[in-house]
Symmetry: D2
Subunit: 355 residues, 4 copies
């Protein structure tokens, strides 16, 4: 990190940026109220900090050991940017703003009719963003892989339906990009690009998706600690894309005997992550619990824990869904859930403002 003097000139800043490039790294320039701070993106071992400390306009050249400095609240204080919370805007929706944001829709897009019917119903129930999986990551080659698994034409068709449904019912849409070959297609039709839990460590995919400069919904891997989660979000930020919505979706359950929930929803990670980064954090109780009968309580708990929103799988008839029927709720249940969550969010927000 290169901290410039308060009176550093634009030329001096540009010179430092040039020098950084010479060493094979990139520069992330943050102009704050106090001063300009230049983040180093890449292998800092290559940087002669002593040399940079002597360049004109430079106040300090520091090696920062933290693995997620670009998205760090702490780091944003150096420049005086002082970012407490970043609001990620998608159309007129503000993730991380005053309202809890609800992403809802089917686990997988199965047909145009199914998608449009669910889209209409979740909109009525109060959802803000429409979800629908096209490329489904599955833990068996013998399971339905989403319409994206049926062929390219089907993938394109499903992507178009998703965009249409979003426009018709006035909701931005989000869907997962499972592999690098899908980035261009999904980025053309979706408003938010999702990177699923299984791909959290897939740095090549992260970089490729980040370059699309669209908001990214980034899910925590079920085996990842918080530090790793943020260190991989940093791969996205390092491409200059800070419109990142983090999403907790459960970690591997431990303990002998059968699992009563599919994963362990780590709700304390929500406020813990919010102390570290200014990025908004959402929660997906559907995949975390895998149980329809726990969704209401865990949505409420997530909002009470301080989450900026929820991602919930919804189907008008969960029993007939091709994927994950046992964890989907109905539009009526969604409406009830949103109603209680909004009230809890207000109670929590009141208290936060007292801090």
């Amino acid at each position: 990190m290169i901290v410039m003097k308060t009176d550093a000139t634009p030329e001096q800043i540009a010179h430092v940026v040039e020098e950084i490039k010479k060493y094979g790294l990139r520069a992330d320039v943050s102009q704050g109220a106090y001063r300009t701070v230049i983040g180093l993106v890449g292998d800092e071992n290559k940087i002669p900090f002593a040399h940079f400390a002597t360049l004109p306009g430079v106040k300090e050249a520091l090696r920062v050991e933290i693995r997620y400095k670009l998205i760090s609240r702490e780091y944003s204080k150096f420049s005086g940017e002082m970012i407490e919370r970043r609001i990620v805007k998608v159309g007129n929706i503000e993730v991380g703003g005053k309202e809890p944001i609800i992403i809802a829709g089917p686990c997988a897009v199965e047909s145009k009719e199914q998608l449009f019917r669910i889209a209409e119903e979740v909109k009525k129930a109060g959802a803000h963003i429409l979800r629908g999986g096209i490329f489904k990551p599955r833990s068996s080659v013998y399971s339905f892989q989403g319409l994206g698994g049926e062929g390219w034409e089907e993938a394109v068709g499903a992507s178009q339906w998703l965009q249409e449904a979003g426009r018709k019912f006035n909701m931005p849409v989000v869907t997962e990009i499972r592999g690098e070959a899908q980035v261009d297609l999904v980025a053309e039709y979706a408003d938010i690009l999702q990177i699923g839990a299984r791909n959290m460590y897939n740095q090549d995919l992260l970089v490729k998706v980040a370059k699309k400069k669209k908001p990214i919904l980034f899910k925590r891997h079920f085996g990842a600690g918080i530090e790793e989660f943020l260190a991989f979000a940093e791969y996205i930020a390092a491409e200059g894309n800070k419109d990142i919505i983090l999403c907790e979706r459960g970690i591997i359950p431990i303990g002998k005997g059968k699992d009563y929930t599919r994963y362990t929803l780590d709700l304390a990670s929500v406020p813990a992550i919010q102390k570290e980064t200014y990025l908004p954090v959402m929660v997906d109780p559907s995949h975390a619990t895998g149980r329809r009968d726990l969704i209401f309580n865990m949505c409420c708990a997530a909002i009470a824990a301080g989450a900026s929103g929820l991602m919930v799988e919804v189907h008008y008839n969960p029993e007939e869904a091709l994927v994950d029927g046992q964890q989907m709720i109905t539009p009526d249940e969604l409406k009830d859930t949103i109603d209680v969550c909004q009230r809890i969010h207000k109670l929590i927000a009141l208290r936060r403002n007292k801090d």
Copy 2:
């Protein structure tokens, strides 16, 4: 499990109980609206079920594979007892009833003055039950082990203070029994006997504590799955003591890198356990997170998840506490927290009644 006919006579029931004893097992007799059901406590391999099926008054003799039948909601249906929720009464406090119950107090009793001051302040803040550790389980022989570790006289003294403080400020009191030699002492002075997470698997201690016929606060081990947790609660119930308050306090964190919370609070276990058993479930966010700055959010989240109450460590000056200062909140913070939690509890309860 021996299911009696609806018209079975008391003599027939007594005869079955006698027969069970002959095989070295005990009988748990549940008289419900429909009929009497006799649970078998002990090694069922010794029971000739075919023989029991032919005894007078017996409708069915079934082998039940579930490891926690005595505390199971499912099992309570056989007899028509149909227990949805059991309220554990401690004085005039009802754990599992209409109000969320707050257990609060210092991690460790340090002096009479410290205890009384905190007792007074948590009472004012709205707490219902007073806690205070006398025998502290510690993961180093080089740490303060509670006043119980200073000598027997100190242990007796601290136990008396706890009882006095509870009486003075009109709160039942709870403290942990760490070893078998402490059972008589603690049972003399405390209203609720706590079995800590590290002792969840300690079946000899469980049996000895259960025999005291006082309410038991039973904490989940940090490495235990839900099935194991309930199977060990069954050791208590098998002694005829069903006044068990279950408590989730966090499981071992997974993931590389540093832990941002001390344990992973498994809040989805709360509603999941409530589907299995009629026993009330509380949550201890203090030990789970180990972080004062997360207590408010995690208390709210626990109540939103459906918990019957909370166990919170409180100190007027957390910095000077001998044990776990970093996870204690002040009485003022407790008051705020209780206030928001009560409102959330109402929102959640409203919805539950619609089910």
Copy 3:
């Protein structure tokens, strides 16, 4: 799975294969001593098994729930193929054969000189296959990402050096493919294509790599159970590529307090996996332990557990390595280790032959 009659004609078999394709699945035809068995690759929900049961030449049409049937020893019995162990041949090296196979080399290729020097030394020490990372998966964007991270030209150069070093010292070479864009390049120069632990769940990458029809070294994710590991190996086999070498490299450590090893090497998974599949299993103690001083013992233990070989990171001067120096051993240490491992392998093999 479609089991053909023993006297089914080639035409009947071809007809069944055609029918399978009509439903959007692929067919995996195994001709064994007894009969032909046709595996179904894809979503079996689409298959009308009753219909297939009536086709000419068909004995049985069975739904197989196991998620890894193509690589299963059990499944190989249906056709009479009876595969106990599959030997994966790479040049004149047989992985899964009579000798334990040692893959050795630097963690990362740093320069042509470094690579050639290490290649020469590991060859002398007794290694069979040369490794060297070009695209390094790293948990921080601020760490050295391998020469592949420096630019495409560097990546091509390093790949060529690797091929040259292998040819010069007569060893097949293996390197990791981290992202889809690297598949063509690596497949051109390497003899074995490695899919790293972090990409185990990356099904799109698996499919793309599998199509290259070269042997694949497939590492278990640190959060994956054995069933998942094999279910994802099945993605590779489903492309018709069964030259898969499985590799255990440690799972996430659990327990409070500092980690004494980087991951937990799950050596019992080696014989457990060998009961399930005929594929060879190797072990990587370098990444698993992260500690040079444990490598000798864990190599010996891996071979004693029944592993078909080892993957070990070696450097002539571990202290100066750019990546993972603390877990590399010297060529001299490698020689000692190979020597003892070969003797243990013989002791183990003797006993196995008695079974």
Copy 4:
């Protein structure tokens, strides 16, 4: 830790010990080649180190943060004791010595006949120490709890049989103490007192057992990290009993899907623990894997990892055992296993001597 001057007099040492007692701690005096070092056992917060530094004969008064200093190899260097390995002697058996020590016998003592038959057969097969459970920790109140669970008379009887069998076949005997009430009984009849995995955190039991001054077989809890394991072994050492045999028996498996082994045997913990402490480490593959067909390989792997011995469950007819039949091997299998393990031990020991 109080480091005395090399010329400190016995009176000066005694004076320091007295002073330590005044503050409520105990003193662990180690007389080494160079000097005497006095360890402080108890809460070091109570000690005014500055004051101790000025006492006659004192060279240094240091606060040692490590939670397991009494059993630490590092710590033993201060006094010049320089303990590399401690041999725990039981009769004429040396655990931690030149030979790998095999503890074998039934999971549970079922009858005198069963015990004597197995004792005779394991002795012939080459075992050194006889095991047999009397008080079985079980995760269901509905399972056979050992003869100790049948009544006190049965417990005494089984303990006497165990002692007799040991004497008849010339093997020391070991059995588990599950609760505090069993300490006196077991200590009367057994040569080694076992503390099981579920009781690792039970500090009251540890202290009570340690006071018996007999060798202790101390098993790692399935949720415990190495640091915790050693910190609880320190509770035993702090009672002046350093005849501790550590035992790795598997930790909680992680990963979705069914478990292929009952626990995850953490073999890298064996050499890792041996770097920290001079105490011998054994391995129990029976409970760790829960699978008879993996015992041979995992015994060999444990010895290759550097273990000082093995604990194996043996039955002449595993199918008819009342407890854990699926993980027991026959005496013939034991003989084969011991044979190969002894050869591997020699190969490993040769190499160690080169260090």
